[in-house]
Symmetry: C2
Subunit: 465 residues, 2 copies
């Protein structure tokens, strides 16, 4: 496997160079034509690799690419694997902070710089090399598992049409395990795998007091002030220990087991580096949990914005008419966005003083959290594949703080997830000067090759545990 | 007195008509020429009335008018009285809401409409008629007290140069009692007098967290959020009973005596009307006090504005870098602006979480509160003068919620204040369609005439109590 990857890695590099030149920025309409070209390029690449079935799936927005390669010797025990990734990329602003042209891929020693190099084009292309290595190493003409790839074209703009696509194409997507490939590892020499993503619900709460701004001399202290009320609402979200005070908020939270806490504690965390990256002066958060636990395994309530009344220079002695707070709640397994929305609605209604009217605007239904059981057969298979590729025994679990469509995929497919991603924390995805470390792509290719073999050995029954 | 006022009130009307045509808006530079004309017109009117000394006092901004008329038979016991008012007027925006031209005085039955009709030109001109009535009724060729008038030209733009003028002219302004003439009464048939104005300090508190807006997925729940912190600060200002929680805040508050509370309770207050005027849906404030007590006799802490983080439509999942709250504190006797500023600084420092840096910007030094003792000889003299003019025994005390230069005058002169004002709550001062009720001006003229006699009878010693 390693020899094949090593002998053929220039194929990966030349493919990557070609694909990265296509500026497929899904968030910017002027680049939508490029997103279509990116889909076409990827479809061609799947075809060249040997996939017998390659389709471009249109949506109400930008297209996904679907490719399928069944095991020729497929039996009832041969697992079907769905790989998820995305072919669109982030915008490049602020362009002046780039040291090279974001769409002119530049190899600089051990890294390759370009928009999308790590997120997610590099990570998808290691799969093509990995699959070829898998065929070569096992002397097969088709994969040892039934392989499906679903590569989205709107992940970087919030996946607005993805759940509908999953529902529409449910009959084609049926699988036994889902492999997510747009995440990363702790460090080049510390193989690891993401084992959870947080869910998310987002709301704006508006408080309305008097129908006009009042003179605070004539009315202050005698009528309810919506800015004070919104501040009291925001302040009531947490207790002194940083624990969210919304009744029922933690009811469905899967508490970390002792062995999970122990594994997370082994994940290297450099406090000084974290403060430097976040340009913050102190750590804070829920008492009783480490920073990595707070970020990945604990739900939060965050004030993203607050406003109301006079916003100009100096002072203006008014009782404001209106105030708002913008809140986001990061959720962890097994919290439900709908239940959390209901709990927040009740909390706001209880904390709204007499004489203040209110509205709550939700941003959609919310995103569910997901978690990978570290004792499941799928995770064990992933761990073995990664350990073999990285020549290291340990695969540390990493709970990601962010939120994505992963839980929706797991729910739609009804299959367990694992995360095989080889990005690094300094890849600067979503920022200027994105790069990918080439050795990570080669190891990723090996790991993918091993993973198909591990899953085939496990079989369908073994996957169910 | 009444006969003289009645026979000569057309003089007041024609003077008022002439003066109101001068648009002396101090807040608008394009009207500053008119403020100078207004000062000249008033100086001429003082001269015509018989004042032997009339001066226009320049300042770094717009001029005040000073007039002096000593009692010819002045003795050591003859009190010197300083009358304060202002000759500038408010802007007229929104002009489209006026039913008549604001500088085209229009008599409409019992009222006269124009900008400045009540605040403060009508109230100043009743003094000229009242003084002539006083001379006629007492058959004197000079007032029974040493009269001084100081009429400011920048009251409607915050009196920026007034304290300096008071200091510079201290030798000329020396007096035994100060009569403030730009306030009002409860109703046409309920004679009353203002007995207090609140003080004021105004601040903007800025909290700074991370040096940039952070992604709430990657950092939320692990670093301090300045928007949450500013909300917690604003929320900490009051307890559930609406009492300000800044340590020491109430230390110097002169609590209302039982007899004062009883008198305030007699002041008519229409809750439905107050809610309608304030376009509010509920009363609120410090538990244990009536609305009139909350507005006039209790200090407040008000959030005038709050802001930070994302302000646009929808949501944005960030931990903001900055947040602010704009606060004003209305003070009552004997609170000191400097002590309150220091208490607020300590409060903010204590409530600022680790990892948040802060600044506090104060709007100047603040305004002191003032209060008139209702058992002082000056207030007794005022009460008798008003009762005689209005044919009614009671002069109810009214604590104004607003803040002005009155305390600064009292402090600079070192003399007690009384408030003789005949504005009505529906005069719409500072708003479109300002009016004055003419019968109130005539009663005001009578009350002023009686007041000079009352104060002369009291004498300097009597004034000291």
């Amino acid at each position: 496997m390693r020899a094949f990857v090593s002998e053929n890695h220039t194929d990966l590099l030349s493919d990557l160079d070609a694909w990265l030149r296509i500026p497929g920025i899904s968030a910017q309409p002027e680049h939508h034509e490029a997103v279509h070209r990116s889909a076409a390029w990827l479809a061609d690449a799947f075809g060249r690799t040997g996939f017998p079935t390659v389709e471009i799936w249109p949506t109400a927005g930008l297209p996904s690419v679907y490719a399928e390669w069944p095991a020729e010797d497929s039996s009832e025990q041969t697992p079907t694997v769905l790989v998820y990734g995305h072919h669109d990329v982030q915008p490049v602003d602020p362009i002046e902070l780039w040291n090279t042209d974001p769409f002119e891929p530049t190899v600089d020693g051990p890294v390759l710089r370009a928009r999308g190099a790590s997120d997610d084009k590099g990570q998808l292309l290691f799969h093509l090399l990995g699959l070829r290595a898998h065929l070569a190493a096992t002397n097969r003409s088709s994969p040892a598992v039934n392989l499906k790839f679903l590569i989205e074209g709107e992940e970087e703009s919030g996946s607005p049409n993805f759940e509908r696509l999953l529902a529409e194409r449910a009959d084609r997507l049926n699988s036994d395990v889902v492999v997510i490939t747009d995440t990363g590892m702790i460090a080049e020499d510390i193989p690891s795998a993401v084992t959870g993503m947080r869910g998310l619900v987002v709301a704006t709460v508006n408080f309305h007091g008097p129908d006009l701004d009042l003179h605070s001399g004539s009315f202050g202290g005698a009528v309810p002030n919506p800015a004070t009320a919104i501040a009291r609402l925001a302040a009531a979200l947490h207790d002194e220990a940083g624990r969210v005070q919304i009744p029922g908020y933690y009811d469905d939270v899967l508490e970390l087991r002792a062995d999970e806490k122990q594994l997370i504690a082994q994940v290297p965390f450099d406090e000084a580096e974290f403060l430097k990256t976040s340009k913050s002066r102190a750590l804070s958060g829920e008492v009783g949990f480490s920073t990595l636990e707070r970020l990945g395994a604990r739900p939060t309530a965050e004030v993203n914005g607050i406003g109301g009344g006079y916003q100009g220079d100096g002072g203006k002695t008014i009782v404001p008419s209106d105030a708002f707070v913008k809140l986001s709640f990061r959720l962890v397994a097994d919290q439900h966005p709908a239940k959390i929305r209901a709990a927040v609605e009740t909390f706001v209604a209880v904390h709204k003083p007499d004489g203040i009217s209110h509205t709550i605007e939700w941003e959609g239904e919310g995103v569910s959290p997901c978690v990978v059981g570290i004792d499941t057969p799928a995770f064990t298979a992933l761990s073995r594949a990664i350990s073999t590729a990285f020549d290291a025994d340990v695969v540390l679990p990493v709970r990601e703080g962010g939120s994505g469509p992963e839980a929706a995929i797991a729910q739609a497919i009804g299959a367990p997830l694992v995360f095989l991603g080889v990005g690094l924390p300094d890849d600067q995805i979503h920022a200027p000067n994105e790069k990918v470390t080439l050795s990570m792509l080669y190891k990723g290719a090996e790991a993918a090759g091993h993973l198909w073999q591990e899953l085939a050995t496990l079989g369908k029954l073994g996957l169910k545990g």
